[in-house]
Symmetry: C2
Subunit: 293 residues, 2 copies
């Protein structure tokens, strides 16, 4: 595995790879790698010829009160993991390399970014789009991999790629969970051990929401209420940012569950803001139901 901290270094290598006609797979990360990231790397390893991973804790996607400085940085551990996965190239730039002093260009998606995490983290997705556009132009991958845990992010990146015509395919890989259901996240490291014990409550709430929908419940308010109740009962200290039932494409709240919806939530447990989500298809009405109504 080659490690490069400079854009010029990366460009030189990428050019040579492209000349050979190899297909480039790319996994952008902020480091503090876990099995979720590694599932993306493994998909890239399987599906493409040359696997590039980036590790960059991107300041422009953190708000002023957020955890940019405290975000876990575990470079040498990450590097070992990536070597084991037979990654070809690791891009590990510092902030000055990515953002020069007179930096003044941003990429912004303005529709999907309004909802869910976009509400409580203004500017977050602008930072994400900007850094991903930069990384795309530096790495020039054929395929880029994102995790479904950041569902909204993945949708926004897909939108950006379509809108700005990046010649890149986006693949979204399933959420990887601990055995107790907690979604893997670098921010799980923030959890004290008692907090870690109750953290699966988020997955439980999503599962409850899913069960209610599968049982035929259609009223989104009712479903959300039950999910919130569950979280509060099991974890009194949880502070709920949002628990939402949204259209899985447009990300707008639905009142009545119909077709495919996304159950999504963001909850503070201690100082960790955790997110999780689940795609659910509503039960189709049977002929009988329809006749009755």
């Amino acid at each position: 595995m080659i490690v490069s901290r400079s854009i010029r270094g990366i460009r030189r290598i990428i050019q040579a790879v492209k000349k050979k006609g190899q297909v480039i797979g790319f996994v952008p990360t902020m480091g503090a790698l876990h099995e979720g990231h590694l599932s993306l790397v493994r998909a890239a390893r399987k599906q493409t010829d040359y696997v590039v991973v980036s590790i960059f804790v991107n300041p422009t996607q953190f708000g002023s009160g957020e955890d940019f400085r405290k975000y876990p940085r575990t470079f040498s551990y990450d590097k070992e993991l990536l070597e084991k996965e037979r990654v070809n190239l690791l891009f590990y730039p510092d902030v000055k390399t990515m953002y020069t002093e007179d930096f003044s260009t941003y990429v912004e998606e303005i529709s999907l970014s309004k909802y869910l995490c976009g509400k409580s983290r203004p500017g977050h997705f602008r930072g994400v789009c900007t850094v991903v556009a930069k990384l795309f132009n530096i790495i020039q991958p054929d395929v880029a991999y994102f995790g479904q845990k950041d569902y909204q992010q993945a949708q926004i990146i897909k939108r950006m790629v379509a809108d700005l015509n990046f010649p890149i395919r986006i693949k979204v890989m399933p959420i990887v969970r601990h055995k107790d259901g907690l979604a893997m996240s670098s921010r799980n490291q923030y959890l004290a051990s008692n907090e870690r014990k109750v953290a699966p409550v988020l997955f439980e709430a999503l599962s409850l929401g899913k069960r209610l929908i599968k049982e035929g419940h259609k009223d989104a308010s009712f479903i959300k209420e039950k999910m919130v109740e569950h979280i509060k009962k099991k974890c009194r200290s949880a502070r709920i940012d949002y628990v939402s039932v949204v259209d899985h494409k447009k990300l707008v709240d639905v009142k009545v569950v119909k077709g495919k919806v996304l159950l999504a939530l963001a909850v503070y447990i201690g100082r960790a803001r955790l997110i999780d989500n689940m795609l659910v298809s509503a039960r189709k009405r049977k002929m009988n139901d329809r006749q009755e109504n």
Copy 2:
């Protein structure tokens, strides 16, 4: 010359060209071509292997009261001109191809865009950056050519390319003028014949500004005053949007002329909003001057 209206068609061709290792030169235009555009095309023809031109009147860079609908469209004439210049590929998309219904991603430069035309045309440079980013991702050129007549635009594009790490070199080519000094522009077509006669007053004002600076004048207000005076005297009906003396890199107004400055103006003559500019280096103080002060 191949003409393609579809992004897919362009991608197929570009891929084949890249496989051959040819260097791609790109000239984005809004059509209504004149010698200014052709000078860019000729530079591309000389300096690169495969020349791509786009013709697309981009709606997102026009304000609501502006001339999007009336902007001159002269496709068959343009096509002939480009064939004569031995252009390889002409991309001529329609609006629906470039902007799908759910389009929601924009590229915005927020520093250089605040000044000059950015003040009177809010959103203009956002539209320019967005469409140029799209075209760059579709054409994937090695070199792209812009005219100095749109000096601010060229600076913003350079900034965008640097900030977002597009693997593209930007070349800015000199302003092409009519014999009487009027800068070539598609919008000159809006001028009635009596307006066309006085339109060189813009170039004259820039030349006057330059002469004053070369004579040793340093006070930007004085220089602008003289330029405005000249325009108003020769063309009573002219409505001045701005006459500015700015830092040639940051585009901010200077009070005292020092080093290299840009004289820039935007003036309505009839219904045509015309822009023009001139780079001027201030006379260096001689040893004698310095000792005297």
